[in-house]
Symmetry: C2
Subunit: 144 residues, 2 copies
């Protein structure tokens, strides 16, 4: 019998190895966290949530790991919010929306990413679109 936990852990491990990243306990934990929490967490949120399970975990390790994952193209770095960086393990094309009043960051699905025509000689290997406004919940609060 194969436990669900093992299945997830194997997917996580494979995804890391596919990108040449040695799957240490800490790296697995950060990657699994991002794959199972689609909340665009900050480094600090990840650290705080993982810390109870890995009491020796250091914030530096979380930062090291996130930087490595971003460098290798395994997760996306999101700068939709000035205060702190956000991370997203979903690499399918989608844009991010931030609500001005509650601060939530939501995924918005799109067919493909928009890459405008660039000046001659410029090459683009990544693009991000950020939309900012008011989410459905906050709009309702105002209208009722």
């Amino acid at each position: 019998m194969i436990l669900k936990m093992d299945v997830i852990k194997n997917i996580v491990k494979e995804r890391l190895q596919l990108h040449g990243i040695k799957p240490s306990l800490q790296r697995m934990a950060v990657m699994e966290y991002l794959m199972t929490h689609r909340t665009h967490p900050t480094a600090d949120m990840i650290f705080n949530d993982l810390y109870p399970d890995i009491p020796t975990l250091s914030k530096a390790t979380v930062y090291n790991t996130l930087n490595l994952l971003v460098e290798r193209g395994v997760v996306r770095l999101i700068t939709i919010e000035e205060k702190s960086a956000r991370f997203d393990a979903c690499m399918d094309p989608h844009v991010h929306f931030r609500c001005r009043s509650c601060g939530a960051i939501l995924d918005v699905n799109v067919e493909a990413h928009w890459i405008p025509t660039m000046p001659d000689g410029v090459t683009v290997d990544m693009s991000e679109t950020y939309c900012i406004g008011h989410c459905a919940k906050c709009n309702n609060l105002v209208n009722n």
Copy 2:
């Protein structure tokens, strides 16, 4: 005879007043700087360039002013780069490109801004698209 300087200063003053911002010496200087330097500067760059002319200028004032300008919709806050915020006084639709090797941030003209279809109830009042890759100059260095 009207000096060119006066013309610019008048445009700057009008743009501030149009948005209900009292045109103090410091605010005029920051706004004029942004309108005449299309380099997407950081608060620090603005402070350093303005300081020689306004020796009493404080960094807090530069931050206060930039925050006010962004709040009132007079300039754009650009978060294409994690280290520090960038500012842009051009409100015409355009997207930003950042070169991975030299760090330059360039404007790319577009007809209109892309705003993907949002989930029901979500309203968008601003959107930004960031493209990242290699600029023409850096691509040439590699290919020659």
